[in-house]
Amino acid sequence: MYKLTLIIRYLLKRRITHFAILAVALCVFIVVVVMTIMTGLVEDFKQKNHRFVGDCVVGTDSLVGFPYYEEFMGILKGTNFVEAVSPAVKSYGLLSVRGDNVRRGVEILGIDPVLHARTTDFAQTLHYRAGQPDKAFLPIYDPNALGCVLGIDLALMRSAQGSYVYDDTPMEVAITLTCFPLTAKGAPAKVGAGLVETQHFYYSDHAHTGIAHVDGSCVYIPLEQAQKLCMAGTLQRVNAMHIKLCPDVGLNLGRAKVAALWQEFKRTKADTQDGYLLDAVLVQDWKEYRRAYIAPMEKEQVLLSLMFILVGITTVFIVFVVFYMIVSHKRKDIGVLKSVGTSNISIVALFSGFAFVIGCLGSGVGALAAWLFLSRINWVEGQLFEKFGFQLWDRSIYAIGDIPNHVEFHVLATIVGCAIVSCLIGALFPAYSAARLRPVETLHAGPV
């Protein structure tokens, strides 16, 4: 009981403990805020990528593509673990607006909009034809014209606040896409002045995936148009098949089943025309397929975690210094306590308990402050932008809506737990030193 009494008194009377609490609170605050935002951004980015590609992809990086996709789609549709599958042609081309000489490089994505909407959230990314993928390539102003869907950043400008200015209907804009069709051998299909294939489209809608490089460079066109523009040969080819697994099928299991089917299918096509193209095809889940984009963010997250380990070490050091000072100042008290029969273990328990209370209070204050700050972070950022023009992320550059501020309870609990453990570690050596003090050394001195 005396330990609790002394802990409370030390806590109330010694200003240095208030600084220790503040230091712990600041560390917890920083870690919770940055972890929440960073984790939120990474999770948001992952989910956007997941929604963009579906669960699994059977595809190749080669622009040549691979044939017999319709046959394999038929096999997949016959299984009980695939809900939907859609073929896609992926290539690169040049885009120009009629009346403008500027040509810019774009990523061409040839899709069957209805099938693609079943495997991805394509339908939800549309603006004018939202939820109507069958009409995605039918311009509202002329449903008979051949339409295309542009990535939103190709179609619209973004304000500094991050908002787009939409028109009630899409502007009537004619677009020309130029591409270099490749044969199954990977050679240009044409020679001379007619090397390129050109096709005119009308801007029918734009897609907003929230993935900056997709929204800024992707042009969706009908699958058959893409095949005509980008590929030449007797057999129709695609670059990828996007797959949506049944809800009760796990990602790893589903991918493994698709991979097994693909291996079998590939074997049956080994001796067919252009069958060698199937060798370059991989079966990947969405994380593997989008690895090039997700991995850098995950690496950043790992680096951030390492930085937070340094923050944790700093906390340990701060608590160590504070407790070393407290123990130095409390040598006389330790001697008195020992002279009235306090054991060494009780001295360790006294200072460890003190550290525990500092850890609990500091991390509690830090966690509460972080939670309050995060709950208002978007408002705060809005006010800063409105009054001072400051923005954490320039919305005209980054594909970020609101700053992620959802605090995960398990993350919060882990950070608070780590802070308390850090305090205990920091106090361990000073507490042990205090316990080892010989009372005669501390009591022999004068009153000061």
Binding site: M1, Y2, L4, T5, L6, R9, Y10, K13, K332, D333, G335, V336, L337, K338, S339, V340, G341, T342, S343, N344, S346, R438, P439, V440, L443, H444, G446, P447
Partner: protein, 232 residues
């Protein structure tokens, strides 16, 4: 109480300290006994080893050689746990510089040994009785009006009386006092000695260390410590 009973027996106690490269022998074979109910004063010049001897008697330090027996039990042979119990229940310490805990008030300082000896549950069950005893002592020591005061709000005499109250809280069989009046003026010091005399009349065994022979004369028996040995 059996006044012929030897409560404390010291035989051949030696103690030395290392000071830099040299070793200083402070106690060189001390022999002494204290009977129950006695008021013994140990006198000696500064550096004669009085405080060292008192610390050894109180279990705060261990001798290099020799035997210290309390009630027939050798303090050198008991474990840490028993030694803590010895300091808590069987002896009480009064220091020259009081050594009160600044964060606690007078009452809390006095009940501290009782709190140390009990678990949280044990304390909750017995705290009323402990506080009642502390209040009785505060009344006897003339500190009834100072119960809630902090040590820095007390005079030197009041602080020393608080320290005496703390030393007596667990009703120890032996009270050890290290220069209890050394930091007080003569009037206040006399008051403290009067308290000791009163306690001794009530049966309390007291061993007091002092360098002042006039103060030592207030004790029933005076032991002179000279060059680390008892002068016969």
């Amino acid at each position: 109480m059996d006044r012929s009973h030897v409560i404390l027996k010291v035989a051949g106690v030696r103690k030395s300290y290392r000071m830099g490269a040299t070793r200083v022998e402070v106690l060189r074979g001390v022999e002494m006994t204290v009977r129950e109910g006695e008021f013994v004063a140990i006198v000696g010049a500064s550096g004669s080893g009085k405080s060292t001897l008192l610390h050894i008697l109180g279990g705060l330090d261990r001798p290099d050689k020799g035997v210290v027996q309390f009630d027939g039990r050798d303090l050198n042979r008991i474990g840490a746990r028993e030694l803590n119990r010895y300091r808590n229940e069987l002896v009480g310490f009064v220091f020259q510089f009081y050594h009160l805990l600044d964060e606690l008030n007078v009452l809390e300082n006095i009940v501290l040994p009782a709190m140390v000896s009990r678990s949280v549950v044990g304390w909750l069950l017995t705290r009323r009785a402990a506080k009642r005893r502390a209040m009785e002592m505060l009344e006897q020591l003339g500190l009834k009006e100072r119960v809630r005061h902090k040590p820095y709000q007390l005079s030197g005499g009041e602080r020393q009386r608080t320290a005496i109250g703390r030393a007596l809280m667990n009703q120890p069989r032996l009270l050890l006092a290290d220069e209890p009046t050394g930091n007080l003026d003569s009037v206040t010091g006399n008051g403290i000695l009067a308290v000791f005399e009163q306690l001794n009349r009530a049966g309390q065994t007291i061993v007091m260390v002092t360098h002042d022979e006039r103060i030592a004369d207030r004790a029933q028996r005076v032991i002179v410590l000279e060059d680390g040995k008892i002068r016969v």
